[in-house]
């Protein structure tokens, strides 16, 4: 028996490396999939949070009685007391919570809570306010933290004396929201001794302890269920204050409690990608090589630290320095959001390098190639440049001009990087019954990436079965444990455990075959639902006949993560965008986006394409539309629903093309969640410049900003 299985060569795979439909598709397209929002239990109550809308206010009185008098209301409790200060806009804005028999009664009760506030201090919701001289300290610990100096700024400046061109510019990115369509929330069903928690979470196994702690139960009395969930993107780790309050209500009432945020609450307290202010200074030589680069970075993560990777981002530059810090505002902390910090760094770095290239009269693709260390990037740049039509493009070293109709067309580029592979933490059970039923189980959650389908697919591939012959059980903390889904690790962590379990199941079945067919374990072929001795004529037995050899004893094996089955090192990718700019109105239309990424084994080509499409679309949306808007004077959140916080819809969709990297030689598993979301908006900004010379240094690229940038060019 071989202790360490290996992935088959891609060419021999019959299911993996092809594209196939998801197992949960039929439930999702017919409305039968039950999300946490949809859970309806007998005696369930509807809970609701009561939020205040200013940061930095003092609560002077709180009267819950009017809310308690509303028919149908079963509980009204204070979260804050008179005299408390609300420090930041976010979960600190929760002043009370209610529970009622119907959602409408809960809404009425929330509205009826009377709260008075006074002495609204300056709101401190912008970087400028936090840094202004004499600004009050938001949390009492100063408005900046985590300052770090790396490298020698003076050395950069002396290196720049030899540069052909030097550029210094500031790039700014607003706060972005995750906008999971299913808002945060839970249903907690607690009976005094144990609890079942229906959670919209990215970490089924990882939430058990937190629920247990909040319910005062031992962990083995808590079961977390997440069969499906409506998006996370990094915002749904931990049960949050809303989860803790849900537990509290459940304990008080001993009834199932349904507590979901509504959309404005989701925008106010359920996570964001940190904003960023970056000043870049640097230069290239006549060949386009970076000779020095200095970056000054303010991470704007509200009361949190924000995220930003090391500079230079992706490109190599020996003489570099960076000064980074967090600047705090009176807003909820940033959370992990798809490739935390990377889209921000990408925008600063890719825009900056592009500016240098054009300033030197060089082709921005060539300048990129000169400054990357890995040949994979050079290959990826060629692939996307070719697909987008760069060679035939008329203006490759200087921006173009608008035609007589005012429209101009341009092309831009950007690169992506992420860590490949998974990590330990997943276990899988494969169970095969004598009647031939195969079940593969892991607690893992499926955020929409297709992990449920993978749980069945790897087993089906190993046993030569159709996908439909394997039942996948996921999203249940009673099943073998899983890692949380963050940082693209799920596939790299899960696939090896599945492969190991599948391999053990196959060998266990082959042991039963030894006395029947005579060959040793490992010398069998499993194809199209049948098995034969390797290389010997016809398929001899059906899978069902093999399982019948189990007698009346079902087979159960477990597999765990094995680091020889997932990729390590880096993931790479390149994207290109072609845009059209109306220079009369400032409107930007993205016409075409192309992406190529290395992905190890394409475990499901269809789902992989969906993931990369999704990354490009979120980046497009970030670039053109998204911005958390606060009233600088009042501190109110103005962008609190989808009419004021826009995300890209059908009309904004360009032609999208995904070119999977067939030359990635790693026959190993890895995920594809972060990399594709990183460079799209940078490529769009560079395409806008290439089209008409308007350099957009702040997101989003709204018509007013495009017109202002055009005026700057003129």
């Amino acid at each position: 028996m071989s202790p360490t299985p290996k992935w088959k060569p891609r060419g021999e795979m019959t299911l993996l490396n092809t594209g196939y439909a998801r197992l949960d598709g039929p439930d999702k397209v017919t409305g039968r999939a039950v999300y946490s929002h949809d859970v309806r239990l007998p005696r369930q109550v509807y809970a609701r949070l009561v939020l205040h809308s200013y940061p930095r206010a003092e609560l002077t009185s709180l009267d819950l009685e009017p809310a308690r008098r509303i028919p149908g209301v079963v509980l009204v409790e204070a979260q804050k007391a008179a005299g408390d200060e609300l420090v930041y806009l976010g979960d600190d804005s929760i002043v009370a919570y209610v529970a009622a028999e119907t959602p409408e009664a809960a809404k009425d009760a929330a509205r009826a809570v009377r709260a008075a506030f006074r002495d609204h201090y300056p709101p401190m919701v912008t970087r400028e306010q936090s840094l202004s001289p004499g600004a009050p300290s938001i949390t009492g610990r100063g408005n900046t933290s985590g300052a770090r100096d790396r490298g020698d700024e003076a050395a950069v400046d002396s290196a720049l004396e030899g540069a052909a061109v030097v550029v210094e510019q500031v790039y700014e990115l607003p706060i972005q929201h995750h906008v999971c369509l299913e808002t945060h929330g839970h249903v907690v069903d607690y009976d005094g001794e144990s609890a079942t928690c229906y959670a919209s979470t990215q970490a089924v196994s990882g939430s058990v302890d937190e629920f247990a702690r909040n319910l005062g139960l031992p962990a083995d009395k808590v079961r977390v269920l997440t069969p499906v969930m409506g998006g996370g993107f990094g915002a749904k780790f931990g049960i949050g204050l809303e989860g803790a309050i849900c537990c509290l209500i459940a304990k008080k009432l001993l009834r199932p409690v349904h507590l979901m945020l509504d959309r404005p609450q989701e925008f106010q307290m359920a996570g964001n990608r940190s904003g960023t202010w970056v000043r870049m200074r640097g230069g290239i030589d006549a060949q386009g090589r970076l000779v020095g680069q200095f970056a000054e970075v303010d991470r704007l993560g509200g009361t949190g630290g924000g995220a930003f990777p090391l500079m230079p981002y992706i490109y190599a530059c020996e003489t570099n320095a960076a000064r980074t810090r967090s600047v705090h505002t009176a807003l909820d902390s940033n959370r992990a959001m798809r490739a935390p910090g990377h889209p921000q760094a990408s925008f600063a770095q890719e825009s900056f390098l592009d500016e240098l290239a054009y300033a030197a009269g060089l082709d921005p693709v060539e300048v990129r190639k000169v400054n990357v260390e890995s040949d994979v990037y050079r290959r990826h740049l060629d692939v996307v440049a070719d697909a987008i039509g760069w060679d035939a493009h008329p203006n490759r070293t200087a921006p173009g001009e608008a035609g007589a109709d005012g429209w101009a067309e341009g092309i831009g580029f950007g690169l992506a990087t992420w860590r490949a592979g998974g990590r330990p933490g997943c276990e899988v059970e494969v169970r095969i019954t004598p009647d031939g039923a195969v079940t593969s189980s892991c607690a893992v959650q499926d955020l929409g990436t297709g992990s449920r389908t993978l749980v069945a697919a790897i087993i089906a591939e190993e046993l030569g079965l159709p996908l439909s012959a394997v039942t996948a059980r996921i999203g249940d903390s009673d099943l073998p444990p899983s890692v949380g889904s963050g940082g693209s690790v799920t596939t790299g962590a899960l696939a090896p455990a599945l492969k190991v379990a599948a391999h053990r199941a196959r060998e266990a079945l082959e042991q039963r075959l030894v006395p029947v067919l005579g060959a040793e374990v490992g010398d069998y072929e499993w194809v199209r639902g049948r098995v034969r001795v390797a290389g010997e004529g016809d398929m001899t037995m059906s899978f069902g006949e093999v399982c019948a050899l189990l007698g009346n004893q079902p087979l159960s094996v477990r597999g765990e993560y094995d680091g020889s089955l997932d990729a390590d090192g880096s993931l790479h990718g390149a994207q290109a965008a072609r845009v059209r700019v109306d220079t009369l109105t400032g409107r930007v239309e993205v016409l075409d986006m192309v992406a190529t990424h290395d992905q190890g084994i394409p475990l499901n080509r269809l789902a992989l394409t969906s993931q990369i499409n999704g990354g490009m679309i979120q980046a497009l949306s970030y670039g053109l539309l998204e911005e958390r808007v606060l009233d600088a004077e009042m501190g109110w959140l103005l962008s609190d629903n989808l009419e004021s916080y826009k995300i890209a819809g059908p009309k904004e969709m360009p032609r999208l093309r995904v070119i999977l990297d067939e030359d990635d030689g790693r026959n190993l598993a890895t995920g594809m969640a972060e990399a594709p979301v990183i460079p799209g908006h940078s490529a769009i900004a560079n395409a806008i410049f290439n089209a008409c010379g308007a350099r957009l240094r702040s997101l989003p690229f709204t018509p007013d900003r495009v017109l202002a940038a055009l005026a700057e060019r003129a």
């Binding site: 439909a21 998801r22 949960d24 039929p26 439930d27 397209v29 017919t30 409305g31 039968r32 999939a33 999300y35 929002h37 949809d38 309806r40 939020l51 205040h52 809308s53 009017p66 008098r69 509303i70 028919p71 005299g83 408390d84 200060e85 119907t102 959602p103 409408e104 009664a105 509205r111 009826a112 809570v113 709260a115 008075a116 506030f117 006074r118 002495d119 609204h120 201090y121 300056p122 009050p136 906008v179 999971c180 369509l181 299913e182 499906v228 409506g230 998006g231 509504d262 959309r263 404005p264 969906s610 499409n613 999704g614 004077e633 629903n641 995300i647 819809g649 059908p650 009309k651 969709m653």
Partner: protein, 219 residues
């Protein structure tokens, strides 16, 4: 929570040069009103809340709706939306229709009312007496999917799936209206729906493929 020493105010609310912030603050306190998120307009006094809520509850009305071919009588308040009716007032609830914005922005709540696609979060159930309502559950079941539903599966047009019911209904309505829609028509007809996972390209493919299969019958 520990109390911090007072910090200087941005401006004195009583002073002559009222900033907008201090004006709104003092206006708010003059009305003895709190400013709670979502309660700006609805900050009724206790007495009003009591009265209006009693009025609403006393005003439960029975509405007859034909939902997915079945005649249902359901008790709703005049302010109960069709979305809330489906999700909360029916027993068993029909939860395929999703609530995302509750404000007519996203299309996740799209259902067919007498064959027309509508945002069910913007329809009051009591105004729909006698109407025929079709939700995503009424278009097919996992064992008997419509052409549109099958195409969504085949083309991987659903990821997390939370927007999917709305898109399935909107696509069905699109195909009922256009026998062979071109790409621009599909985008236009679906432009009232949003997806955060980014399934749009596959949704467009699914719509086109279902159209060619059903010849525009929309099923």
């Amino acid at each position: 929570m520990a109390k911090r020493p007072r910090e200087p105010r941005e401006s004195d609310p009583q002073g002559p040069d009222l900033s907008r912030r201090s004006f709104l603050v003092s206006a708010g306190s003059a009305a003895a009103g709190s400013v709670l998120a979502g309660g700006l307009a609805g900050a009724a006094t206790a007495a009003e809340a009591q009265e209006s809520t009693d009025g609403r509850l006393a005003g439960l009305v029975n509405v007859r709706l034909k939902i997915n071919g079945e005649q249902r009588t359901v008790a709703v308040e005049p302010r109960t939306t069709l979305l809330s009716t489906l999700r909360h007032r029916l027993d068993p609830a029909l939860t395929g229709t999703k609530e995302v914005c509750d404000r007519g922005n996203c299309g996740a709540c799209t259902v067919l009312v007498d064959g027309r696609p509508v945002y069910s979060c913007l329809q009051l159930a009591c105004t729909l007496e006698g109407s025929e309502i079709t939700t995503v559950e009424g278009l097919g079941s996992p064992d008997d999917m419509s052409d549109v539903q099958q195409a969504f599966c085949d083309k991987d047009a659903s990821m997390c799936g939370f927007c999917t019911p709305g898109f399935v209904v909107a696509t069905t309505a699109c195909l009922a209206k256009h026998a062979a829609p071109d790409d621009a028509t599909i985008r236009h007809e679906l432009s009232g729906n949003l997806c955060r996972c980014g399934t749009y390209p596959h949704i467009f493919e699914a719509a086109a493929s279902a159209a060619s299969k059903s010849g525009g019958r929309g099923r």
